[in-house]
Every structure is written in C-alpha cells, then in structure tokens.
Symmetry: C2
Subunit: 131 residues, 2 copies
C-alpha cells in the first residue's frame, strides 16, 4: 500500500532524509486514515512521483504506525518550492479526495528549518553495551 | 515498547496533535533503530513524562513503521521552551545512550512553524464514495 522510493520502503536499506543546510522548509503532515482506502495507494505513488518534479524538492520521510498515526514530512529548499507544490492541480485534487474519503483527521504544519543535524552509526561491530 | 500517552497509542482513539496558533516550533526527529533496543522503552517513557514538564511544550506525534523509519515530532510554544528541553540533563544522557546503542541513523530538523491547519471528519455515516 505504501509507495515506492520513500524512506519507509521495506526492501531497501531505510535511511532518514539527511540534514540540509538551513534555511529550508519542512511540511509536516500527521494523519489518521479511515477504513476506506480505495485508491489511496495509487494516488500516493502518483503524488510521490509528481513532487519530485518540483524544483527545490529535497526529499520526504514517511512512517506509519499500523492502525494508528501516519507522519509524512516533505522537505523543500524554499517557500516558493512549497507554494508550487501546494498549487499543483493534481495535488489539490488528491487533497480533496483525501478529505472526502481517506482521512479521519489530519494536521499540516509548515515550518522553516533553522537548524538540523544528523547521525549515522559508524560501520563495524557495535560496541558492547554496559549494564 | 512504545510509550503511553503518545499519539500512536493503540488503545485510545488516535488523533494528530492539533494545529496551534503560529509561530511555534516543531522538532522533527527521524530515526532508524539498531537491533539493540535494551532499555529503550523505559527511557522513551521517561522522556515523554519529562518533556511535559517543560513550560511551552504543546504536544508530540509519533509514528513507527515496523522494521523501518520512526518519526517523532515535538511541538513547542517558542525557542526558549525547546532550548530548555535540549539542555535537560536527563534528556542529554538519553541522547548519548541513543547514539551509543539504539540508533542506526537519525536526523533532527528544528523548525519554526509559520502556518498550520487541521481537518477532522464530521461525525455520522461516511459519505458514499464515487467510482
């Protein structure tokens, strides 16, 4: 059901989208879905393809608790990139269908990232844990 | 393993943290965990209790793809609230242990929310879906 090439993809190594140089934008979408998910998967995959064509799109993270909350975070270089995505006609149609059918509730937070950092575990055997 | 009173809680109705009046801050933490999760659940629950004592803490969303990405988003009224949480000694110790043991990789994005909105489905029977 979940689309290809996102960071919840189960058959490739999963890595969070890396920290970019601030400032950039994050669109945090938190949602609980209905029981009616007819057509969701196809639309989700299509949106994922479309957003990559937006100049300034930096990446997307997604996590889904089974039967619970889903969180999608899209990262964009600047406000213009996010505006372009928001105004995309096919995206707007998908949002309408989401409200009509797929979402029980959601919140969207659009935020300007002021600082960020990442961590990647060093290769090699994991150090033994104390206690 | 996942802590109580977060929005991935499975035995109460799940709802995303609502939109607050901007500006406010969102700390977006995206992570992939190691196979060594000894002690994680207890620490996670303790952090969840601690953060609620921070004046200006607004709420937290969490989603976890099984075997994949986890995303936690903490919302704070202002930068001072987030600074207070960042400087908490017990939180810092937990972060160190996370890097030593629990996380394969993570990214933290600290962002100022400029706009937000929410949607909650109206009560009553769901409208029939076309097509």
């Amino acid at each position: 059901m979940y689309a290809r090439r996102r960071s919840d993809h189960s058959h490739v190594p999963v890595t969070p989208v890396e920290a970019h140089e601030p400032p950039y934008y994050a669109a945090v979408f938190t949602a609980v879905r209905t029981e009616n998910q007819s057509g969701y998967g196809e639309t989700d995959a299509r949106m994922e393809d479309l957003v990559k064509d937006v100049p300034g799109f930096l990446g997307m993270d997604h996590a889904q608790t089974p039967g619970g909350l889903g969180i999608t975070v899209g990262y964009f270089r600047d406000a213009d990139a996010l505006t372009q995505w928001r105004r995309n006609a096919e995206h707007r149609a998908a949002q309408r269908r989401g409200r009509d059918e797929w979402y029980q509730s959601y919140t969207l937070h659009v935020a300007k990232v002021e600082r960020s950092h990442g961590f990647v575990r060093a290769q090699g055997p994991q150090r033994p844990t104390a206690g």
